[in-house]
């Protein structure tokens, strides 16, 4: 159980060449990850999320701000002390980064050797970890005999061998197919729920955030542009970056060219409605329309689940006399966020 605090963290690299401006990879980012939380950091490549993750275990050094992992102030420790702290912070990688020259069991044993754990205890712990990730039968296999999903499970067993309080996941499922990806995410969820390990994961996939994260930070150009409960952030996106991520997970507003197409096919009034579990009463919306004698065609959109709550956007064609439609739109505007498209 470890809390991770990033307070106004920055990372600047000196510019290449004499007078080149420094490159700001991470710009004044603050994230408070509660103990036992799964926190996702989502952003496109180059957003600085990978660098930020490496600041947390001190693989790279922040040029500004403070980072605390539990009681340890990462940003104040010298490299020699950081090594001890890293035993309490696990890390898994997109490319797994397993040691091909070592068998599976030796891979999992390595961090224990580094930590100076006695041999008997190491053996017990390796068996226990391989059991946990469901690979007890692969202990004596070489890593290149494993599938991608198995490799990442070995990666997870290795990262957790020293019983860290935090697990850093660097695009842990990006190299896996959707099915395998879900299995690995389910395992991470178990890691969090059963072992109480705080997880910070970075990703560019909305799916990953949706499946397991409790809270999310959206990063763009080194800055944290949005932050909060996954449902709140994605059901009411404030920034363009967030909106684009939401659009990858569910069809929201029709794109401009698609809208034209829709207009050709649908003569009625097109309106776009936002639904948020808890805020918007779906039956009420449809009852309102029915009561006012307005017919409905759902022409675009969808509803999805995030963190156990649903939200979405539907584009409706309202069919009926102009005046009735007018009144219905006015009535709906009371109930929900509504946008008239045509």
């Amino acid at each position: 159980m470890t809390r991770v605090q990033m307070i106004g963290v920055s990372k600047r690299y000196p510019g290449r060449g004499g007078n080149a401006a420094p490159v700001v990879a991470v710009d004044d980012v603050s994230i408070d990850v509660a103990s036992g939380e799964i926190h996702a950091i989502i952003g496109y490549s180059g957003a600085g999320k990978s660098t930020l993750l490496r600041l947390v275990n001190g693989l790279e050094h922040a040029t500004g701000g403070r980072i605390l992992v539990g009681e340890d102030e990462i940003t104040a420790l010298p490299e020699s002390k950081l090594r001890d702290v890293r035993g309490r912070i696990g890390m898994i990688f997109q490319q797994f980064n397993l040691f091909h020259s070592k068998k599976v069991a030796k891979n999992v044993e390595y961090p224990l050797i580094v930590a100076g754990v006695p041999a008997a205890e190491r053996k017990r712990r390796v068996a226990e970890m391989l059991e946990f990730v469901g690979l007890a039968d692969k202990a004596q296999a070489f890593t290149d005999q494993l599938s991608g999903g198995q490799k990442q499970r070995v990666g997870i067993a290795r990262a957790l061998a020293t019983s860290p309080g935090v697990l850093l996941a660097d695009e842990a499922t990006s190299a896996l197919d959707p099915q395998t990806s879900r299995e690995v995410l389910a395992l991470l969820q178990r890691v969090n729920a059963e072992l109480g390990i705080t997880i910070i994961l970075i990703t560019h996939e909305m799916e990953v955030v949706r499946e397991i994260a409790h809270r999310v930070t959206v990063m763009d150009s080194g800055r944290a542009v949005e932050q909060g409960e996954v449902f709140d952030v994605f059901s009411a996106p404030q920034s363009d970056t967030t909106r684009r991520f939401v659009a990858t997970a569910l069809p929201t507003e029709p794109a401009a060219e698609h809208l034209e197409e829709l207009r050709k096919r649908h003569r009625g009034r097109l309106v776009s409605l936002t639904f948020r579990d808890g805020d918007v009463d779906q039956p009420l919306v449809f009852r309102t329309l029915a009561e006012r004698g307005v017919g409905v065609n759902i022409v675009h959109g969808g509803i999805t689940d995030v963190g156990g709550r649903s939200f979405g956007r539907l584009t409706l064609e309202l069919i009926g006399e102009d005046l009735k439609v007018e009144h219905a739109v006015a009535a709906l505007a009371q109930e929900t966020t509504l946008e008239v498209l045509a």
């Binding site: 090594r83 980064n97 580094v114 070489f142 850093l168």
Partner: protein, 221 residues
């Protein structure tokens, strides 16, 4: 032909073969270790390496680039004064072995560096992320992970050193190369030359085979 049989019978060929093998084994042993050391240092001190150090890298890189291109027969002459200081003589087997080791060191350093650079940086990062210090990351991860290609590099170096031993005669060394030149070439006896060549080919083939087998085992393909 008669001459060849005589040389075979009086043990000249056997002696020369043992001499060549002695030169190569000592030069590969010492040069192999020193080359490994310099090669690893080149790998880890370069930009982005885990012991990044511009000065050390620059100096080592310069030394390797300076000595490696010198043709061996010229290197023998060029570093003869150094041989006198280090092994006490500028001629004979000790001087020859010194120069062989010297050349092998710098050649192997570059081979080791090139092959260790094929190790994905991610595995070193993983080792660091688990709290390993640089020395442990080098010994327990970098070298084992790169060992397959490194073994192939050593095999290549072994054959290059066999090649170099042919110049032994220049400073009074012996071996198969010297035998081929002295008894074959100078005495217009191609049988002797070709017999020496044959033995060299057999040695090279055996070493290449062993190297391939070992590398295949390490690379598991």
């Amino acid at each position: 032909m008669d001459n060849l049989l005589e040389l075979l019978q009086n043990g000249k060929f056997l002696d020369a073969t043992v001499q060549t093998l002695t030169y190569v084994v000592i030069a590969m042993g010492l040069g192999g270790l020193l080359g490994l050391l310099i090669g690893v240092l080149l790998t880890v001190t370069r930009q982005g390496g885990i012991l990044q150090n511009r000065a050390v890298y620059w100096v080592l890189n310069f030394l390797v680039n300076f000595f490696r291109p010198i043709p061996f027969v010229i290197l023998i002459a060029a570093i003869q004064p150094l041989a006198r200081v280090v092994v006490g003589t500028g001629i004979g087997d000790p001087a020859l072995i010194f120069v062989l080791t010297f050349a092998a060191t710098f050649g192997i350093a570059r081979l080791v560096e090139q092959n260790l650079l094929t190790v994905p940086p991610g595995v070193i990062e993983a080792s660091r992320a688990m709290g390993a210090g640089p020395i442990r990351s080098i010994l327990a991860v970098l070298i084992p992970e790169g060992l397959g290609p490194v073994v192939l590099g050593y095999t290549f170096a072994f054959i290059a050193v066999v090649d170099m031993t042919a110049m032994a005669g220049v400073i009074g060394g012996g071996g198969l190369g010297n035998l081929a030149l002295q008894y074959g070439y100078r005495q217009f006896n191609p049988w002797v030359t070709w017999a020496a060549v044959l033995i060299i080919i057999v040695i090279v083939q055996i070493v290449q085979l062993l190297g391939n087998l070992l590398a295949r085992k390490l690379l598991r393909r």
